[in-house]
Symmetry: C2
Subunit: 280 residues, 2 copies
Amino acid sequence: MSLRDELRVPPGPVDLTAYAPGGTPGVKGDKEKGEERLAALGDELLELQTKLFASRGTHHARQVLLVLQGMDTSGKGGVLKHTVGLVDPVGVHIVSFKAPTHEELAHDFLWRIEKAVPAAGYLGVFDRSHYEDVLIGRVRHLAPADEIERRYAAINDFEQRLVDEGTVVLKCMLHISAREQKERLLARLDDPAKYWKYNPGDVDERQLWRDYQTAYEIALERTNTAHAPWHIVPSDKKWYRNLAIAKLLHETLSGLGLDWPAPDFDLEREKKRLAEDTVS
Amino acid sequence: MSLRDELRVPPGPVDLTAYAPGGTPGVKGDKEKGEERLAALGDELLELQTKLFASRGTHHARQVLLVLQGMDTSGKGGVLKHTVGLVDPVGVHIVSFKAPTHEELAHDFLWRIEKAVPAAGYLGVFDRSHYEDVLIGRVRHLAPADEIERRYAAINDFEQRLVDEGTVVLKCMLHISAREQKERLLARLDDPAKYWKYNPGDVDERQLWRDYQTAYEIALERTNTAHAPWHIVPSDKKWYRNLAIAKLLHETLSGLGLDWPAPDFDLEREKKRLAEDTVS
């Protein structure tokens, strides 16, 4: 079974307590082995992503959008550095979504998202995403209840359009336990090199842990479509999280049947031209 | 002597024939040693760049703009993959400039550049840049002669503003020989994995090699300011080019005296709050 199948959320109601944040589904071995396998996957991932990028000028160009969602400290930044960092940065488009600006708030919640989707050939990565608008949006009542309700179907329609247009949407929830979050927050307070990652507001949000889990359960259930299914990635173990996302990306890119594009010029003519070239 | 000093173009007229494209100034050793040293530099570069990124919310935030210019096949893409790829992609902003669009052409040549400069804390990389407008712009007469003339001072003023505002502008010309370019173009025709990088138009531009070298000499002389000096990076040897850019970046970041930002919250209060936290 592929890891995509293994981690894919089945249709229907979602109960996050049924998913162990410390698990390592689909992967045998320990941290050391896991890090070795991640490094070994790097070259293959780079080749696949370069093929994706090479196709960007062709009629069959594709693009991949990796959506990373998770509670604070769940490791979105770690995935960017350790997994996304394995491929060629020229073909990667990372967008980190923060609290919306006044201008963004004056538009539909998908307005800023639309501007951030990957162009042909790119691996786009959303570090947080439109799902914030049904997560913190729901928990903190940042919009009226009927507006929050409207958004689930709007998201599904939006993602359907991306998929119809040739984008693969790979949605991952980085699933950590409240206990692990506490340890990671404490670690940030114990290391001057990590103070900058610490935000007292994260502890305020943490007080609403159960509400957030419920908001995730609702969001996962209602946007777990066939065209853009959700994956729950156990993330208490950082090495597993990084490896799992690498494998999901690898499976996704492999599934596109990518190949090097054929030359769009006359190969023999160009060889001859260059052979005769005397520029020096 | 730092490599920045070693590769910095001295004020005055520039004669590119005085710079050996196959040289390895400031670096002892061969390809194998060079690749080892690049890998060893990676961790230090990552830490420095993370400090730069960590400072982005502070009043003393800085940003770095690496400008990569060079003839086709000089290795701008290779530097992105092998050198820029060493740091955390979340804090990197790469912009690859292509032929301007109709909308861009309807504005001043710096209009699209302004939108692409790095925000506070970022390492911005220009893969080609505003210098195209005085290189191909000059060689191909894409603008009237007096407009081309106007641009040198406009570039200097623009870069002065970036520097005044806290940006370090690190300008590098990747210097290759016509012979090396021919070999690299032929290699692209010999490998199906490289066809996508081959553009017959590159061979047309190659016919104007001398005109391009002259345009570079003029541009380097006229925009070689104290606030944003030029560096010529011999690039016939790929390992040297990648290592040299890494060292230039390392020296640049080291020179900023970056440190981890102090906490902008009450450290003891937060520790106490978390210690007493019972969320689970």
